[in-house]
């Protein structure tokens, strides 16, 4: 088992780049008083980013994924437990992929 020097350098570079992205969000907020418009904007980060993450995965992949996304959303709307909703999503995408290949 060995470590190639080029690979090691690339891994360190990628690790630093990723950690920088995580740390900078923390540092940006140091000493910032969050209220008003700023708070409204930050409160919108979770729904806005989650939606941007899932949109191509759900709505730009295929019919089965789009329909499974809707089934999953319905299950979430009914406030089923998180794990149940995930299983509904997985089960529905497997079933729907058999129909829409």
């Amino acid at each position: 088992m060995s470590i190639d020097l080029t690979t090691l350098l690339a891994i360190l570079g990628m690790g630093l780049a990723t950690y920088a992205s995580r740390l900078s969000g923390l540092l940006l907020m140091r000493g910032v008083v969050v209220k008003g418009r700023m708070k409204a904007a930050l409160d919108a980060v979770p729904p806005a980013v989650l939606m941007a993450v899932i949109t191509p995965m759900v709505f730009m992949t295929g019919t089965a994924e789009a329909l499974a996304g809707i089934v999953t959303a319905l299950s979430a709307y009914l406030k089923l437990p998180l794990l149940v909703t995930i299983l509904v999503g997985i089960g529905s995408v497997v079933g729907l992929r058999m129909v829409f290949t």
Partner: protein, 231 residues
């Protein structure tokens, strides 16, 4: 605020199912890394130090001889820019956790850990126990199973066959639903979805997450009225 075992248990009970999903995906990444010449040790190092799944898959896809290190590092940085938003948002709920922990805790802030933490923060402030309970089991699951994948090679079925590729999308949809606060949330997510689709269509790479997310955030800021009290 002190470290409570009950918080730790609450965190683990929210994250164990994500561990089950991380394991096969990490193994798949490990097998792909092995095809590009990664040893199990290199796979562990990358998964432990980078610890950002989507970017790791892209990096492995870009892995050629001679390795374009700067291009790979820059691409990974762009894909992972969304973490700036995650960290900025979640740090507001970490007031009860000692300051010196914060930089360490940032390293384990993956999409899934972040989503679970935001979900918890809707109901109560985060504690060190809960954060560790959610984020820390996921980390070794990711890097150990990466190494196992690199060691075993391609013995796994395609995760898509058993719908595992959809597990995270389903989890994000479920967590997203918890953030619904009425029509304004609708405006935010419609904007972010529409802009994400445009960015995904017209730009290469992973800019769509940051651009779509920021568009949604901008709409939320624009809709804010000085007279209301959102605190």
């Amino acid at each position: 605020m002190s470290f409570k075992a009950s918080d730790l248990r609450a965190g683990v009970s929210d994250s164990w199912a994500v561990c089950l999903a991380y394991a096969p995906i990490a193994m798949l990444w490990g097998t792909l890394a092995a095809t590009k010449g990664f040893s199990p040790l290199e796979a562990i190092l990358m998964s432990a130090l980078v610890y950002a799944g989507a970017s790791q898959f892209v990096a492995i896809q870009m892995w050629v001889e001679p390795l374009p290190i700067l291009l790979v590092v820059f691409t990974i940085f762009v894909i992972n820019l969304r973490h700036v938003l995650y960290a900025a948002s979640i740090s507001r709920h970490m007031g009860g956790i000692a300051r010196w922990w914060h930089p360490l805790l940032m390293h384990v802030l993956t999409d899934e850990a972040w989503a679970l933490l935001e979900r918890r923060a809707l109901a109560q402030p985060l504690t060190l126990g809960y954060y560790i309970g959610v984020a820390v089991p996921l980390w070794p699951t990711w890097f150990l199973f990466s190494a196992l994948g690199a060691l075993l090679g391609s013995v796994l079925p395609d995760p898509a066959l058993i719908g595992l590729d959809f597990a995270f999308a389903a989890m994000f949809i479920a967590i997203l639903a918890g953030f619904w606060k009425g029509p304004r949330t609708g405006m935010v997510i419609i904007t972010s979805a529409a802009v994400a689709v445009m960015a995904k269509t017209f730009l290469s790479g992973a800019w769509y997450i940051v651009i779509g997310g920021l568009a949604g955030v901008a709409v939320a800021a624009l809709m804010y009225q000085e007279t209301e009290n959102v605190d």
